[in-house]
């Protein structure tokens, strides 16, 4: 009771973040973020997803420190060793340490997912928002192109693209991005249609706002939450597609550590050396599940109807 007189820094920060009397734009934005963070962390499943994704990012960032061995150094005297204190997840057919390769593989995985997301988000949003806002012929043309790409299963399409572009991570990213933007565009178009006739968009139009300004200032903030959720949920399928392409030899090329390729090369030794396929498989499973959980959590937080 008596120690309430001197509020700590922590309490002052909390008070600043929940105060009704907002005094600056920075505080207003910080409060929005804080409310979102609070409601995200109130769901244990979303927190689990967030933690695993954070672990993935940390693993990718600190790979040289986390890895116990050089992931590329081959030693033919140490092939196919069982998991032990020296090699936590055993060694592969060329005597490379599986744990170290798994940690470095996190970099490849993260690189692919981030790059695909950064390419797909803006393209999908722009195509969908322009189609939805402009309507008419623009809408028909853009949406038919989207429909054509949607009609193919994404892995098959990615296979076709990377087969024609040639194997490699860069081309795998391009191939996956080409197959993943159509659902994002559809989503952006649907959201745009719900707000294009709203009074606030009409108000902006009557003030003389250009289409670019309306899309950027009015439609983007409405579409952004569902696009973020969609992209987060998509990351799981990006990882799986990347792993699939790697497995088929069209993604990352040896000796780059990539989970799908690791699982593929371990397939020949499945009976004798289970650890070669199991650990990369578990990593793919855990990370794609974590992105799904995080996406679900974000959907609850970012729903515009929650205010």
């Amino acid at each position: 009771m008596t120690d309430m007189a001197v509020p700590s820094r922590r309490h002052r920060l909390h008070a600043w973040l929940v105060d009704e009397e907002v005094t600056s734009g920075r505080q207003a934005r910080a409060q929005q973020w804080y409310r979102g963070f609070r409601s995200l962390t109130s769901s244990p499943v979303a927190v689990l997803g967030l933690l695993i994704v954070a672990a993935l990012i940390l693993a990718a960032l600190f790979a040289p420190w986390l890895a116990t061995h050089d992931p590329y150094r081959q030693d033919l005297t140490l092939t196919l060793l069982r998991p032990s204190a020296e090699h936590w997840m055993g060694t592969d057919e060329l005597g490379r340490d599986v744990w170290s390769r798994l940690v470095y593989g996190a970099r490849t995985t993260l690189y692919i997912t981030i790059l695909v997301t950064v390419i797909v988000g803006p393209i999908g949003f722009l195509i969908g928002a322009v189609a939805g806002y402009a309507g008419g012929w623009v809408d028909v043309i853009l949406m038919r192109v989207t429909d054509i790409l949607l009609a193919f299963p994404s892995l098959v399409l990615a296979l076709a693209f990377s087969a024609s572009l040639g194997p490699g991570i860069g081309n795998a990213v391009l191939a996956i991005a080409l197959t993943i933007w159509p659902p994002v565009a559809r989503l952006a178009r649907a959201e745009t249609l719900t707000v294009r006739n709203s009074d606030y968009v009409a108000a902006a139009r009557l003030q003389g706002a250009s289409m670019g300004r309306i899309i950027r200032r009015h439609i983007l903030p409405i579409c952004l939450p569902s696009i973020i959720v969609r992209l987060t949920l998509n990351m799981a399928s990006v990882i799986l597609t990347a792993a699939g392409l790697g497995f088929l030899g069209l993604g990352a090329q040896p000796p780059i550590a990539e989970w799908g390729a690791m699982a593929a090369s371990g397939r020949e030794y499945l009976i004798d050396a289970w650890w070669l396929t199991t650990f990369p498989g578990l990593a793919i499973l855990t990370v794609s599940m974590a992105f799904n959980l995080l996406g679900d959590g974000l959907r609850d937080v970012l729903d515009p109807r929650n205010g």
Partner: protein
């Protein structure tokens, strides 16, 4: 100030084409408040949307402050003459913009200097404290939102405001406040109002002259004095007036 002649408004195409407003003409003098009344579906909002430039499928002549406007193309000059206050204070303000950026938007679009100071001045004019600048719409009440909407409409110093049932979505106590605010602003700034409403009480409070609309036509025009005294010619106007008296 507003000069509408033989206005026809259409919706839809081909066989579905609907002739919503049929040959409406009226004039609103500078500084006057003109009320369009009628039940829903009478075409009063269509007239408003055509004048505002929100709906483009119309024929006839609309002159604002002496110059006529093209249905399909509005110039920057046309846009600065006229602003609209919407009926629903919840739908009229972007849910993810702060009050300040909502009011500053027209200033930014037209590249006016120092939006920050103008926003504070506009907030003061609609009797909101300056700290409201940083609030989001979900943190303020319906009446306060409608004030924000009015402040935004004032931002470009437009001489004409179109009021689309500006109080019908508000509580009765808040309605009076907003109407008084609009009255004060009109006399301070010499604004011209064109107001659409179905509420005869609001009409009696606000409007100098009234056009009664039914089935897309103005069936009677009368002054406020005539309305209050009951000197109405058309039986439909009489009916509207009497229902309002019974309710109010």
């Amino acid at each position: 100030m507003i000069d509408v002649e033989n206005l026809n408004v259409f919706y839809g195409r081909g066989a579905q084409r609907f002739h919503a407003v049929r040959g409406v003409s009226f004039r609103v003098a500078r500084g006057e408040t003109y009320g369009l009344v009628g039940e829903s579906g009478s075409g009063k909002s269509s007239v408003l949307n055509a004048i505002a430039g929100r709906h483009t499928d119309w024929t006839g002549s609309v002159r604002l402050d002496g110059t006529s406007v093209d249905p399909m193309r509005r110039t920057t000059v046309d846009r600065r003459k006229i602003q609209i206050v919407f009926q629903d204070p919840y739908g009229a303000i972007h849910p993810r913009h702060t009050v300040g950026s909502t009011i500053a938007e027209p200033l930014e679009i037209h590249g006016l200097p120092d939006p920050g100071a103008t926003v504070e001045r506009l907030l003061a004019q609609v009797c909101l404290p300056p700290r409201f600048r940083w609030r989001y719409p979900h943190q303020i009440s319906g009446g306060q939102r409608q004030r924000v909407s009015i402040a935004r409409a004032l931002a470009l110093d437009s001489p004409i405001l179109l009021l689309d049932e500006p109080t019908s979505a508000l509580d009765v106590s808040v309605q009076a406040e907003v109407l008084n605010l609009l009255q004060d602003l009109r006399s301070e700034r010499g604004l011209t109002y064109l107001m659409v409403t179905h509420d005869m009480g609001v009409v009696g409070h606000m409007c100098d002259r009234i056009g009664v609309m039914r089935d897309g036509q103005i069936i009677e025009e009368l002054t406020r004095e005539a309305l209050i005294a009951g000197r109405v010619a058309h039986p439909y106007t009489k009916e509207l007036r009497e229902t309002a008296l019974l309710v109010g």
